[in-house]
């Protein structure tokens, strides 16, 4: 199977200058790979660094050391050392991300929030909105909400907008940070189905799922993040 992403010996420490420069080691020696058509799951207890790993892969957090090689436009690029411009290009075309919480922009409708990743790629607005409508329908988001800004939506409604936004493109790599945390059983099934379809299309997925049913339904293998706990890896 085609490997789309390889993380090797990635290390992350937070230095809290507001607290006298105390160092908070997060993870070290993070090494794994993601293959096309499979869903890997980051496992381990809360606070072990799962979200931090996703954020480093997406370029949202910097890495102290190590490499994150990604197949981008047919060549290998290192997210860990990429320039801001390259990171933005990788996000536009190669790595998608469903964050845990929606960052709402004032006055922008739910439909346009979900359609935006396609607009950035140059898809015509109405065509992008049509795809967003399809996903909203599938995710059972009430139609009366589509034209409203999601800031006042419930947690589950916001999460569905976020999922639509993440799944609307055909990014070869998709990162999922607890996409089903505030969903009911019926909508969890929809997300499981969406993930299965992405796999069938050949995408490589990496997710955090605390819900065991979802995890068992989607995971091809589990990456145990406790093995990368900083300090342990130093030994």
């Amino acid at each position: 199977m085609n490997t789309l992403l390889v993380a090797s010996e990635v290390k992350k420490t937070f230095i809290m200058h507001m607290r006298g420069g105390v160092e908070l080691p997060v993870v070290a020696n993070v090494s794994f790979s993601l293959k096309a058509g499979a869903c890997a799951v980051l496992g381990g207890p809360s606070g072990v660094g799962k979200s931090s790993i996703l954020k480093m892969l997406y370029g949202n957090y910097g890495c102290d050391s190590g490499q994150i090689l990604v197949q981008h436009h047919g060549r290998h690029v290192d997210v860990a050392s990429a320039s801001p411009r390259l990171v933005l290009e990788i996000r536009r075309d190669t790595i998608g991300y469903v964050s845990q919480f929606l960052r709402a922009v004032p006055r922008v409708s739910a439909l346009d929030v979900a359609a935006e990743p396609l607009l950035i790629r140059g898809v015509e607005r109405e065509a992008a909105r049509e795809q967003a409508r399809g996903l909203f329908k599938e995710l059972n988001l009430p139609e009366k909400l589509w034209s409203l800004p999601p800031a006042t939506f419930s947690g589950g409604e916001q999460q569905r907008v976020n999922i639509a936004r993440g799944f609307i493109t055909d990014h070869p790599i998709l990162l999922l940070d607890e996409p089903t945390a505030s969903l009911d059983a019926a909508n969890r099934e929809v997300v499981i189905d969406l993930i299965a379809r992405k796999k069938a299309e050949g995408a490589a997925l990496l997710g955090i799922f605390h819900d065991l049913d979802v995890r068992n339904a989607v995971a091809d293998h589990v990456i145990d993040v406790s093995a990368f706990a900083a300090g342990k890896a130093a030994a």
């Binding site: 370029g59 990171v87 004032p106």
Partner: protein
């Protein structure tokens, strides 16, 4: 071979010209006597990219903005701008007339206070039309038509076209100033605290409008702001300044979510949560 010749040769061979920075700032420094305005600032700005310069009052961000937009001569350092013919020119080595023409056509400057960027005693339509006349448009009907179209794009009703901006609210004045700047289809716009002094609902509307215009027109923008939420909403990259120097730079969401420098951590941790 000059840049222009190289581009022509590439075009003839059917090779798309590589994308190059629109603006290149190198080691830009401005001192006021013994005091530092800004020191040793370097960055590239690419077509369509939005760069935020953040920092508290007195950090040198407005001095920097004025130096790169040719409004304040730097003590040393250079600013190169890639003209529409693909040639990169040092803006401080241009003839004064050439630089003025650039500022009137290819660049825009949005001031914090709309009074500094508008003529308050001529009509809204004339404020927008004036920039078109400056680039050689003479047909009254066309100018008026373009002015009305631009007022609509910034959500000002057509029936206000003959009113003077002194009868407008603060938010409307700021939108008018934006229309006045964008009517000549500039490629680069400088903004100094564009949402400063507006109440939050007006600010949200303006930010949404700016976001839309920037992406529809593919504008490159350098925006100075002390408001990190504005930087997050508008910019791709940001520069954090303190005491005239750049202390952190990078992708906007990374600087805000994973700040490295002690000062940036202080700034980020000082944001009030609603």
């Amino acid at each position: 071979m000059s840049d222009a010749d190289t581009l022509e040769a590439l075009a003839k061979a059917g090779i798309p010209a590589p994308v190059k920075p629109l603006l290149t700032v190198e080691k830009l420094t401005r001192v006021y006597g013994k005091r530092i305005g800004c020191a040793d600032v370097s960055f590239d700005l690419w077509p369509g990219e939005v760069l935020a310069i953040v920092g508290e009052s007195g950090s040198g961000k407005t001095t920097l903005l004025n130096c790169i937009s040719s409004r304040l001569t730097p003590t040393c350092g250079t600013v190169h701008y890639r003209m529409r013919d693909g040639v990169s020119a040092d803006i401080y080595k241009m003839a004064e007339a050439e630089r003025r023409y650039l500022m009137r056509t290819d660049w825009g400057f949005v001031h914090q206070n709309p009074i500094d960027g508008l003529r308050m005693t001529v009509s809204a339509g004339a404020n927008v039309g004036e920039r078109l006349m400056a680039v050689g448009n003479r047909h009254y009907g066309n100018i008026r038509g373009a002015a009305i179209e631009w007022l609509a794009r910034v959500e000002i009703d057509e029936d206000r076209v003959d009113d003077q901006p002194r009868t407008f609210s603060g938010g409307m004045r700021q939108r008018l100033q934006i229309a006045r700047n964008l009517v000549t289809e500039p490629r680069l716009v400088f903004m100094d605290e564009p949402t400063g002094g507006l109440d939050v609902s007006v600010q949200a509307r303006l930010l949404d409008l700016l976001r839309g215009l920037v992406s529809d027109l593919g504008l490159a923008v350098v925006v100075v702001t002390h408001d990190l939420a504005v930087a997050r909403l508008l910019s791709d990259r940001m520069i954090v300044m303190k005491e005239g120097r750049v202390i952190e730079a990078g992708l906007t969401d990374r600087v805000l979510d994973d700040p490295r420098a002690p000062y940036t951590q202080l700034l980020v941790s000082s944001i009030l949560q609603v």
